[in-house]
Symmetry: C2
Subunit: 189 residues, 2 copies
DNA sequence: GCACCTCTGGACCGAACGGTCTAGAGCCAT
DNA sequence: ATGGCTCTAGACCGTTCGGTCCAGAGGTGC
């Protein structure tokens, strides 16, 4: 569809991320991914010998890496955990908005909906754990008390708010998270 | 597959809920639902003239009603909002456990993954709003301050924790919610 | 030139998909 | 018994699915 900015492999992976997030693993056909990537079937099975399942794992991994980068960006210059978390929520809200298609969580859409495969479940779990550890790292670095709990809290609320945002087609609930979950306990009226 | 406990229509709807929650809308074929319900194709299209889409809407509605009932049960005899919320988290955790298949949220799996249809999106939104209003009602009845905010907070965290529970195949994160989100602000060490 | 290798292009396949259609079973009222 | 209704039963349809296969384009080293 669009121009060819990168290698065929990268185009396939990137478009797979986009489409899987929109419609889930089973909701997207290979034909659509190939058309969007302007690639023939032979290329797909050259780069991903096991076909759709391989592609999904690669897509989930790529999406996970992008989120890890977003986490790092959010906390890099933040003086406090609260501020870093706020950055993250706002970045994700903006990310949600610019997609224009109210995409789902990259991991849920790709891996939960995937073939009922132990490998997929484990991959999803390890990706979530990776996010959790990364956030907890920043929390620890910023001397936040109970860093693991705080990290889990942040990710749980983001995950839930993202789902609600999807239903409402409105990312405001993501932006409202910090004042509700990261703020001092009883600051607002 | 199993015995016929109810009308064909009810069996179809109930099995649709079960299967859609396990594998999402596109992950389940009509053949599987029909086999599980011991019903022929003609029956499905008699009760649901628009086929799979109709069935999905009916399934989502049924699942939503079941959750509304669980909400009411949780808050019925609870003296405080905190206690009602705790009941809800524990009931859902048990529900998650007994399924044995780490099913997803009934609405997400059925409606987000469904055909890219305005009707489906709106239905998902109205179902979420229904849950929110129901919880807020109980909060108001129990004199909880800021009932709407508290209801939204509870549902967001449940939604997020459910996703994490699915990845981990362990419902403990749901059971741990109350002490983290519903408790007094800084009670634990 | 030639051999070699990576990658592309697309025809082709059987299976599964959602959906249509008609025959008739079973039941009730007349 | 007969006509009319609801619901079941499943054959059948065209389409799309993921996957296989092979011919050959294009580059690189010799």
């Amino acid at each position: 569809m669009s121009t060819k900015p990168a290698s065929t492999r990268d185009r396939l992976t990137l478009n797979a991320v986009k489409l899987f997030r929109q419609k889930g693993y089973h909701g997207v056909g290979l034909a659509e991914i190939l058309a969007e990537s302007d690639a023939p079937k032979g290329s797909l099975y050259h780069h991903f010998p096991n076909g759709k399942a391989d592609l999904a794992v690669a897509a989930a991994t790529l999406a996970s890496d992008m989120l890890l980068q977003t986490i790092d960006d959010s906390f890099a210059n933040a003086p406090t955990f609260r501020e870093g978390g706020t950055n993250l929520c706002f970045k994700l809200a903006k990310f949600f908005d610019i997609s224009g298609t109210w995409d789902g969580c990259p991991v849920s859409g790709i891996l939960f909906d995937g073939p009922e495969n132990e490998v997929f479940r484990d991959h999803a779990n390890s990706i979530f754990t990776g996010w959790l550890n990364r956030v907890a790292e920043h929390a620890r670095r910023l001397n936040e008390p109970r860093p693991d709990e705080k990290a889990e809290m942040l990710l749980i609320t983001i995950q839930g708010a993202w789902t609600l945002a999807r239903a409402r087609r409105d990312s405001d609930v993501l932006r409202a998270l910090p004042s509700k979950f990261l703020g001092p306990c009883e600051s607002e009226a």
